[in-house]
């Protein structure tokens, strides 16, 4: 089925958050700090104020204060806890220092440029590399939600005693999400106690909750709306300063204020994937069986928060390894807090793990697929639990077949196409099924249409489309008779789009709500003399595709609509809460203790470990004279439970591979070591893949049924497609050149340098 939101998107009718036409809207523009550390000594707005139609110029001196700052909020739900423009302090380059509100965008933009800010600059710390930086042990990471130390078995001893020892350090550059739609806030106050915010949000409930805390208002007085979102990849799933600054400014000028970050501000306004390096020690037996994984990570964090991706998760569970440990070290620098970016943890973690596995295979002279099969985990060694389902072997087999893996020359540097060196590489992918839950409402009308509602969002991943399909099947209506509404806090609370939980959770919620409708209509039918189900016990009735029937005699029954029509009621409404992951299993299989956002508890809850798996295969061509790397073929095969829509799921997996190719070959935001400022903060300087960089990408799903994870057996796919991609590229480069590239992105300068040195 084609996307239901497709016609609106190809005709320009789809309105994104900054495109909602609210009469009287004025324009907000942020001015960003040019220094990374110090204090503001003076702000001269004289010239700026002369621009036509200026309503106000806000600085830390005159911006109304929020009721609470994030630091004062116990349940602050965002990566960054620092709110700028509360005092004269500057903590990172690009930090907002003023907000101009004017009648036109042109005047606001020009005025922001004309504001003269004088600083007393201190020497900033740019990263964990900085000699001034001090690495520390955070004990817990991600606002205390995750352990900074994980140990299983006796990893160091096992490593020391291993027949084969491999140790390597992997570097990952700063990456920026860079969705095509910049972050945007349109704040509309309707009186002092009622606020509507059109926000580019992956999670309207999160935005609503944080705004309620910051403003000291009841949640229900704040409505957050996101009907269409132009990509997010994580950055729009957290709360950033521009949103509350716009809301405060709008209240002060008593007009709706629209503020859109400029593209350079997108590099200093909505987080990033942090600069980091991982050291991975692997011990194995002489025949390549892992006995120990010792992992450590160093990364940069902000002056206030201990955010870092948990890279270790994937190392703990992907292979059958009895001993494992990970530890994180962070250094505070003058940067904003980093945040989850597509496949947080798994993406850089898999680069280290799957590159080292490739080395191990080469060292032992066995095929990269074979080393993975020798270490295949038949259960999750991190928790000791069986898998709810796992089709990784099938993914390997099918991927190898589609790619022609058996034609690969195992000897590096031997295959040429003209002057170009050709190489083949592969890597595994996995991503957990996190716990989540959400609510949906289904309203079935007697005239044969339905409205289905859940406060979820559609990043472009297909939420509108798949939920329409699920609803149509549940109610026995054609998809065009379903109107699925999302992206509004007035709708039942659903999870945001993040951590790959949306599809499975919202679909399950809709099924629960549909069941509620079924139950109500069945009760009507069994009490209705005109119904073929009159006086039948409700528990003997089944419902499929909108038809109720006697389970023992399926011919005896009628449609939901027939019974509803006779009742004279115009419509009937049901609601329900769906669970995803461990919570679903707990409810349905009688296990205990799920807790969202807590890895350790999640591990202990339920009876099964829940993950999606996949495998990537790629071919590269390396130009030995220029150091350029081109991807020439790509195959991805994944096991993700039920695929709700093959077309949108395939597109998402292709997109995941390409997102990973960006991180592998080109994405690198460079922070100047002296000034801690980004030097390439725009789309000309920060390279993301363009059409000419990308070959045809082949994606397949292997059939997989999983009864434990949720009502429909759906696993998330958004993150999975990117996991292992950078390693597959690096492994193919090794096969092409005999050079192991351990620093991302693998740009021509690094490649040439490696080629100059002996293999």
């Amino acid at each position: 089925m084609d996307r239901v939101d497709g016609p609106a998107k190809v005709t320009g009718a789809a309105r994104y958050s900054a495109e909602i036409n609210v009469p009287g809207t004025v324009y907000g523009v942020l001015k960003s700090s040019t220094i990374a550390k110090g204090r503001i000594t003076n702000i001269d707005t004289t010239a700026a104020a002369k621009e036509p139609g200026i309503l106000n110029i806000f600085t830390h001196q005159n911006l109304p204060k929020p009721a609470k700052t994030p630091k004062q909020i116990e349940k602050w739900r965002a990566a960054q806890s620092y709110l700028p423009m509360q005092d004269d302090q500057i903590q990172y380059a690009g930090q907002p220092v003023a907000l101009v509100v004017a009648a036109t965008l042109e005047a606001a933009t020009q005025a922001a440029a004309l504001i003269k800010v004088t600083y007393q600059a201190d020497t900033p710390i740019d990263s964990y590399h900085d000699p001034k930086a001090e690495l520390f042990d955070p004990q817990k990471i991600q606002q205390g939600k995750k352990d900074g130390h994980v140990v299983r078995g006796n990893p160091q001893q096992a490593f020391d005693g291993a027949a084969i020892r491999h140790e390597a350090t992997y570097v990952h550059a700063i990456n920026h999400h860079s969705p095509m739609e910049p972050a945007a806030t349109l704040a509309v106050w309707e009186g002092a106690d009622k606020l509507t915010v059109y926000e580019a949000s992956q999670n309207v409930t999160m935005h609503q909750g944080n705004l309620a805390e910051l403003l000291g208002m009841p949640r229900e007085q704040i409505r957050v709306v996101t009907k269409y979102i132009g990509g997010g990849f994580g950055c729009k799933g957290s709360f950033w300063p521009h949103t509350i600054l716009t809301v405060l400014a709008a209240r002060a000028v008593n007009r709706p204020v629209k503020l859109v970050l400029t593209r350079p501000q997108m590099f200093t306004g909505v987080g990033h994937r942090e600069d980091q390096e991982q050291t991975l020690k692997m011990g194995a037996t002489a025949d390549g069986k892992l006995v120990s994984i010792v992992h450590s990570k160093k990364a940069t964090t902000s002056p206030w928060d201990n955010y870092t991706e948990s890279n270790g998760k994937i190392m703990d569970m992907l292979y059958a390894c009895p001993n494992y440990s990970t530890v994180y070290e962070l250094a505070r620098a003058n940067v904003m807090t980093s945040v989850w970016m597509r496949a947080p943890g798994e993406a850089p973690g898999s680069f280290a793990l799957e590159s080292s596995m490739d080395d191990l295979a080469h060292q032992l002279n066995i095929d990269p697929l074979e080393i993975r099969l020798r270490n295949y985990a038949d259960h999750d060694h991190s928790s000791g639990k069986p898998w709810s389902s796992k089709s990784l072997k099938q993914c390997y087999t099918r991927g190898a077949e589609l790619f022609g893996w058996n034609k690969r020359n195992p000897k590096p540097g031997q295959t040429r196409r003209g002057n170009l060196l050709v190489g083949h590489g592969m890597a595994s992918a996995t991503y957990p099924v996190h716990s989540s839950q959400g609510t949906a409402r289904v309203r079935l009308f007697a005239d044969g249409h339905a409205v289905v509602e859940a406060g979820a969002t559609d990043l472009g991943t297909g939420t509108y489309t798949v939920m329409t399909q699920v609803s149509a099947d549940a109610l026995g209506l054609p998809p065009e008779k379903i109107r699925f509404e999302l992206g509004d806090t007035r709708l039942p609370t659903a999870p945001g789009s993040g951590g790959s939980v949306a599809a499975g959770t919202v679909a399950s919620s809709i099924m629960a709500a549909a069941e509620d409708v079924w139950d109500k209509v069945v009760k009507m039918a069994v009490a209705d003399k005109k119904s073929p189900l009159y006086k039948v016990k409700p528990t003997d009735v089944k419902v499929e595709l909108g038809r109720m029937f006697l389970a023992k005699d399926p011919k005896k029954g009628e449609t939901l609509l027939a019974a509803l029509g006779r009742s004279g009621q115009p419509d009937i409404e049901g609601s329900g809460t769906g669970k995803y992951g461990a919570g679903y299993e707990e409810k349905n299989f009688g296990q205990n203790g799920a807790d969202q956002n807590n890895d350790n508890k999640e591990k202990k809850s339920g009876g099964h470990s829940m993950h999606s798996f996949g495998a990537h295969f790629c071919e590269v061509e390396v130009d030995p004279d220029l150091g350029t790397v081109r991807i020439t073929r790509w195959v991805g095969v994944h096991g993700v439970g039920t695929v709700l829509n093959l077309k949108t799921a395939t597109s998402q997996m292709k997109g995941g591979a390409i997102y990973g190719i960006g991180a592998a070959l080109m994405e690198d935001t460079f922070r100047d070591p002296n000034f801690a400022r980004y030097t390439n903060a725009d789309l000309a300087g920060y390279h993301i893949p363009v059409n000419a960089d990308i070959p045809e990408i082949q994606v397949e799903f292997v059939p997989e049924t999983d009864p434990y994870i949720n009502y429909l057996g759906v696993k998330g796919i958004g993150e999975l497609g990117m996991v292992g991609v950078a390693a597959a590229v690096g492994n193919a480069i090794f096969n092409a050149t005999g050079r192991r590239m351990r620093s991302l992105p693998i740009t021509p300068d690094k490649m040439l340098e490696a080629l100059r040195l002996p293999a």
């Binding site: 190809v10 036409n21 009648a103 095509m180 910049p182 363009v690």
Partner: protein, 206 residues
């Protein structure tokens, strides 16, 4: 909004400090850069000056519409903020991403790098003007069929760029399409599907 649209917000009461050299054409960008100041002065002397807010008439999708705006308003902002035609997207405002691509006299341009006032008298086609009523343009239909997008934010620019790519004769092969469509970024990375859509629509465009 009415055809003779003006923004709801109050307009510039003081236009005296901003001027614009009408018909400065492609030299404008260079002319405004400091090293070329003397050339700018020369051009200014030869050109009619437009100062402050004036009436700008734009022929968009076959209909002439007038806005009251300053000469510094870009075509993209004129479309989005003054005419409420929000199909053209702002991704970078610097000509780096292609989301704002529209057709001006049949040529694809980055509307964020084009001043609205310079496009008076020209035929501007935006995504809103591509379909004939309910009948999608073959390129729109092909993007739907091949799933040439996810979030849809780059899509209007991709589609207009694609229409021009075909009309320019730059859609001869898959490789050619990829090269000539590389000015339009897609972060969801629908590139393989976009390429497939263009190659199919090519055959259906008259």
């Amino acid at each position: 909004m009415s055809d003779q649209s003006t923004p709801a917000a109050p307009l510039n009461p003081d236009g005296s400090r901003r001027t614009f050299m009408k018909q400065a054409g492609g030299f404008l960008g260079l002319a405004l850069a400091p090293p070329f100041l003397s050339q700018a002065e020369r051009l200014t002397a030869l050109s009619k000056k437009v100062e402050g807010v004036s009436t700008i008439s734009l022929k968009v999708n076959g209909t002439v519409r007038a806005i009251r705006a300053e000469p510094r308003v870009t075509l993209l902002d004129a479309l989005r903020e003054y005419l409420d035609l929000t199909g053209s997207k702002k991704g970078c405002d610097h000509g780096q991403c292609g989301a704002c691509t529209v057709l001006v006299d049949g040529r694809r341009v980055n509307s964020c790098l084009t001043l609205a006032i310079m496009t008076q008298g020209k035929e501007i086609t935006t995504i809103e003007g591509l379909a004939k009523g309910d009948e999608l343009h073959p390129m729109q239909a092909a993007f739907l069929k091949h799933d040439g997008f996810q979030c849809g934010y780059c899509t209007p620019g991709q589609i207009l760029s694609a229409v021009a790519c075909v009309q320019e004769g730059h859609a001869g092969s898959e490789a050619e399409v990829r090269e000539w469509m590389s000015g339009n970024l897609c972060r969801c990375s629908a590139y393989p599907n976009i390429t497939a859509a263009i190659l199919e629509a090519k055959g259906q465009m008259g």
